[in-house]
Amino acid sequence: MQTALAPTSAKPSSKAGGVPLRMQLKQAERRRKLNSFALALPLLLFMMIAFILPLGKMMLKAVHDDTLNALMPRTTEALSTWEAEGLPEEHVYAALAADLKQLSEHKSVGKVSLRINYELPGAASRISSTARKVASLSSGPYKGALIEINPIWGGRDIWGVLKRGNADYTGFFLLRSVDLEYSADGSIVATPTEKAIFREVLLRTVGISLGVTAATLVLAFPLAYFLATLRDRSRNLLLIIILVPFWTSVLALTSAWVVVLQDYGVINQVLMTLRIISEPTPLIFNRIGTVLAMTHIQLPFTLLPIFSVMKSISPSYVRAARSLGAGPFYAFWKIYFPLTLPGVAAGCLLTFILCLGYYITPALVGGPRDQMVSNFVALFTNQQLNWGMASALGAILLVMTLIIYLVFNKLLGVNKINMG
C-alpha cells in the first residue's frame, strides 16, 4: 500500500522495486506486443502458407516461363547472335535439329510445341511433324532440309519466338492478357481483332460487378432501413429469411435460378399463363439472368454491413433534426444518410470485389458473351493447359482489385468503413 502511494518526487521515474517506471512501462508494452503477436501468429502463418505463398507463386508463373530456355538450350543459345534480320545462320538450324532430336527421345516435344503455339497458333502441328521427321537427318546442311520439311522454319516469326525464349522470364502472357503481343522483331503491337478478347472481358467483368453492386445497393438500403426500425421478434424472423440464401451453397442457388429462369421455367410459365406474354422471354444464358442471379446471391453481403450500421444509429438524431424544422427528406439526406455511409461503403466494396471473381453463376446462367475473367482463367487452367495465361489473367485481376481498393481508400478512408 505504502509503496504504491509513494510520494511523487520531482523525478518522474521513481524507483519502485529497483526498476525505473519508464523501463517498467516499456517492458510491459513489449510483453503486451509479444502476447498479441503470439496470439496472431497461427493466423499469420496460415495466411502466409495458404494465401500469400500461392498468390506469389501464381504471380510468378505469370512472368516466369523457362520452357524454351530449358528444353531447347542449344537453339536459344545460338539465336543470341541473330539480329532478327532475315533468317538465322546454318549453325542455328543445326542446333535446332539437335534439340528436336533430343526432345523426341525424351517425349518432350509436346511441351515445346504447346508453348510456341500460344504465340503462333498453328505452329504446334508443324513442330511435332518436324520433330518426327528430323530423326532421319543425320548430318548437315540442316537449313535447307528443315525448311523443306516444313516451311515454317523459313519464316521469321518462329525464330522471333525462339529468340525471346532465351530468357527465363517473359512478358508474353501479361501482354496477351491486355490484347498486346510481340511482333517478329520484338516490338509490342496490338493483337489482331479475332484474337483480342481480353480487354473487353476485363471491362465486362468490371461492368457486371458495378451493375450488381448498384442493384444490391438499391435493394438492400431500404430493406436494411426497414429491418433496423422493426421490433426484435419480427426483425429476427425477417433476418433469418434473408440469411437463408446467404447460407445456401452458391451452386445450389444458381441451379435453382436455372429452373426459375428457363424458357419454360417458373417465371415464363406464370407470365404465359397470365397471358402477359405469348412466347417465352429469354431470361437465361444472357446478361439479364446473370445479373439477376448474382444480385440475389450478393444481396446479404451488401445488406448486413448496412443493417448493422443502421442499427447503431440512434433515432434521436433524426428526431432532433425534425424538431429543428427539417423536412423528412432533408433530415434523412443530411443527417441519416451520411451516418450510414460506412456501412454502405463496406457492403458495396465487399460485393464489388466478390463479384469480380465470380465463376459459377456466369458459367451456369450466362451466355458466351457474359463470361467474366474467371471463366477464362478456368478455360486456360483446365482445357488449354496454359497456366501462364491463367496466372497472368489472375495477376491482372488482383492488381485491378488492389488499385480499386486503394482508390476507394483514398476517397473514403479505411477507417470510415465499418463492417459492423
Binding site: 498453328g122 502441328s125 478478347i197
Partner: protein, 350 residues
Amino acid sequence: MIKSPVLARAVCVIGLASSAVIATLPAYAADKLTVVSWGGAFQEAQRKAFFEPFAKETGTDLTEGEWNGETAKIRAMVETKTVSWDVVVGGAVIQLCAAGILETINWDKLGYDPEKFPAREECAVPASGAAAIIAYDKEKFQDGPTTITDVFDLEKFPGKRGLNKRAYDNLEWALIADGVAPSDVYDVLSTEEGVDRAFAKLDTIKRDVVWWESGAQPAQLLADGQVVMSSAWNGRIYDAVKTSGKPFQIMWDAAIMSYDYYVIPAGAPNIDIAYKFISFALAPERQAHMADLIPYAPSNPDATALVDEKILPYLPTAPENSANSFDRDEEFWADHSDDLEQRFSAWLAQ
C-alpha cells in the same frame, strides 16, 4: 459410472491404447483402385457392368470419381508426383501420351491381342465407341431434321440448338453442312480457308446456340424445352428415352464416331490392379453387358455377338445408323486441337 479412480484411469488408458493400435493397423484387407469416368448415365452403366462385378470378384476396394475431361488435372497430378487416379476413362489423349503423362500400355500384361483393337493408342485402351449425334424433341417437330444441314437451317427448324462447347465435332459439321463431303472434311479443315469457312458457317447459327459442357446436359436441355435440338452422345439420349420416357429422337446423319479410352496416369499408385481392371473390362461378356445397359459400341469385336438383339439397332455401329457416319480423326485433332480450341474460345467470346 466407475467409482474407483484407479479403475477409471485404467479403462481410459486401455481405451486410448486400443484406439491407437487400431488406427495404426495397416489396411491389409483389400487392394485399392480409383477409377474416374464421365459421370451420369454412362458411369452408372459402367458401375453395373464393370465396377461392382470387379470389386465383388476380386475383393478390391474400388473408389469411383468423376471428371469432365480436364486433362490439366492429370497433368498436374503427374507433374507434382501426387497421382491419386489409377484408371481414367477419357477421350483421345494422344497429346498427353506424347508428353509422357500417361503410362504406355503393355498389351501382354492385359492378356489380349492388340490387333483386335485397331482403335488403340500407345497409351490408351479403347473402352467403347460413342457417336455424337443430333437429338430432337419429337413433340416439337412433326418432321424433324433429317440431315446435318437442317441443324443449320433456322428457317425450316426455328429454335435454339444445343452444341458441345468444344471445337471438335462442330467444325466438322459446319463444313459438311456447307457442302463438303465427310471424307474430305479433315483435308479441308487442315487449311486456313477451310477453318474460316467452318467458323463462318457456325456464325450463321451462333446466336441460337446453347453451349453444353457435360454429357448429361443435352438431355436436360431438351427436356426443359430450352433447345429444340441438340448434339449429344447417343447413349445418353437412349437412356433418357428408356429411363425417363422422354420423346427424343436421334438423327444419325453425319454422326461422328469417337472412342472412350482407359488410360493410366504415369506413376499411378496401383498400376497392377489397374491392368487387372482393364483386362476385366475388356472381356466380351462384360462389354456386352455394358452395351445392353447403354448402347455404346463395345471395343472388343467378340462382344458384339453377345449383345442383346433388342439393343443392336441402337448401337452406333448398326448398319442403319452408321450409313452416313464417320470416325473422328484423332490424329488430326492431336495436331490441331491447340490452335483450333484457342480460336474457338476466342470466337465464342466475341
